[in-house]
């Protein structure tokens, strides 16, 4: 996953570069929007708005800037716009910020990074992690669900968790409470 090369592709402004950016970031954008908005339908609207904004604003992107951070910023703003629209009535800015920032930018950035990390796993390892953490299945339940031996589940799980720990190591070093929760 080479964001520098991707940034160069996006900066060309052509459709292929945009398509690569969309393929790379639509999952994290959607995940971040679901985390913020909780409603998948609203999150889908935020994804559309974010990428429409990225396409229309692609000429303003400086490839020297961190592409992931750029996309994250545009996507978070799109999600906040959807959130505010859903409020249907004007509210004091500080009140809106409190409500939206229940999940701070730092927390959403973590959600974004975790989503990118799991999308970087091989599909069979990601499936085990998903079943273990999201569906709260035991290894034996996963083995039965997937129809594979328990040893296969254990080895996939071990590899996946090692990769996640490596990819998200910087989060390991953060102290709880520094995320603005």
């Amino acid at each position: 996953m080479d964001d520098t090369r991707l940034a160069g592709r996006f900066a060309t402004g052509d459709e292929d570069g945009f398509a690569e950016v969309y393929t790379t970031f639509r999952g994290p954008v959607f995940g971040m929007a679901v985390t913020m908005l909780t409603d998948p339908g609203l999150a889908e609207e935020a994804v559309q708005q974010a990428f429409i904004g990225l396409w229309r604003g692609r000429e303003r992107y400086d490839p020297a800037r961190d592409l992931a951070a750029w996309v994250f910023g545009v996507a978070r703003k799109a999600a906040i716009d959807v959130y505010r629209r859903e409020r249907r009535k004007p509210v004091p800015a500080d009140q809106t910020e409190v409500a939206v920032d229940t999940l701070s930018a730092e927390r959403l950035w973590e959600a974004w990074q975790v989503r990118r990390a799991v999308e970087g796993l091989p599909a069979d390892e990601a499936a085990v992690v998903r079943l273990a953490h999201y569906y709260q299945m035991t290894h034996s339940e996963i083995a039965a669900h997937l129809g594979v031996p328990m040893g296969t589940v254990k080895s996939r799980s071990h590899r996946a968790h090692r990769k996640l720990a490596e990819a998200l190591g910087h989060l390991v070093d953060d102290k709880p409470g520094e995320t603005g929760d």
Binding site: E15, F18, A19, Y22, T23, R26, G27, V29, F30, G31, M32, A33, V34, T35, P40, G41, A43, E44, E45, V47, Q48, Q49, F51, I52, W55, R56, E110, A111, V114, R115, V118, A123, D124, A126, A127, V129, R130, L131, H133, Y134, Y135, Q136, H145, L146, G147, V148, K154, S157, H158, H161, R162, L164, A165, L168, L171, V172, D174, K175, P176, T179
Partner: protein, 247 residues
């Protein structure tokens, strides 16, 4: 009492920090992303850009109204100004009544010029919708169901949005990691409760994208949704499960 992971023992998973583990259990980490393609998004962006370029016709006050907020004692408009141009088109009303502030009020009935603009804009919206085949949907699902890959497709996962309609429930399935059905096979959705299987429709996934299924029965009466791989001509018994999720 530490958030730092301890070294794993042989065969044990590496411990992840609590915040990462928490996010791994969050729907946002796993929810299937929208099935829109980049080309569809670009088409939507271009369509909305066209609407935006037409937007001043809606957002800018009518040129005749400019005079309504312009004191009569102000400098006359330049000959090539929009007000002058509007006047030459007959949209300004030379006999318009003076407003209390001394300006000119144009009765709303005289804004007939807006009709063709509105009609053109409506047509543009329709053309954009047809051209892209995609619009930002305001449909609100009454429920969403997450599906995990099963024996037949362990890497697949998806999400069903349940949308109530007059005649039943429209089920929009966004699925990722599910291969196109092979020759002589297809996929079928099922609602399941106590051994009862109600079919929800079939699809082949030959092209990536959204799948539309349908239910004529309320899904809340069921416990589980499954998608199975079926063989053509092999009857209606459920085949190998490729996706499954609880209500």
């Amino acid at each position: 009492m530490t958030d730092q992971p301890r070294p794993p023992e042989d065969g044990e998973d590496v411990a992840l920090p609590p915040r990462v583990a928490e996010l791994l259990a969050h729907p946002g980490t796993w929810a299937a992303a929208p099935a829109l393609t980049a080309a569809e998004l670009i088409a939507m962006a271009e369509a909305t850009a066209q609407l935006d370029s037409a937007a001043p016709a809606f957002s800018a006050p009518p040129v005749a109204d400019d005079s309504a907020v312009t004191p009569l004692s102000s400098e006359p408009a330049a000959p090539n100004s929009s007000a002058a141009a509007a006047s030459s088109l007959g949209t300004a009303a030379p006999d318009a009544p003076a407003s209390p502030a001394g300006g000119v009020v144009i009765p709303f009935r005289r804004r007939r010029w807006m009709r063709p603009v509105l009609a053109a804009a409506a047509a543009l919206v329709l053309v954009a919708a047809v051209a892209t085949g995609v619009l930002v949907t305001r449909e609100r699902p009454t429920a969403t169901i997450e599906l995990a890959g099963a024996t037949g497709a362990p890497a697949a996962h998806g999400r069903i949005r349940v949308i109530e309609r007059d005649a039943g429930w429209r089920l929009v399935l966004d699925v990722q990691g599910l291969a196109p059905a092979g020759p002589g096979t297809y996929y079928q959705g099922w609602a399941i409760k106590d051994g009862e299987y109600v079919p929800l429709g079939t699809f082949h996934m030959h092209k990536a994208g959204q799948v539309e299924l349908w239910s004529g029965v309320p899904l809340r009466q069921f416990r589980r949704i499954e998608v199975t791989s079926q063989k053509v001509g092999a009857g209606q018994d459920p085949g190998t499960v490729v996706l499954a999720g609880g209500m």
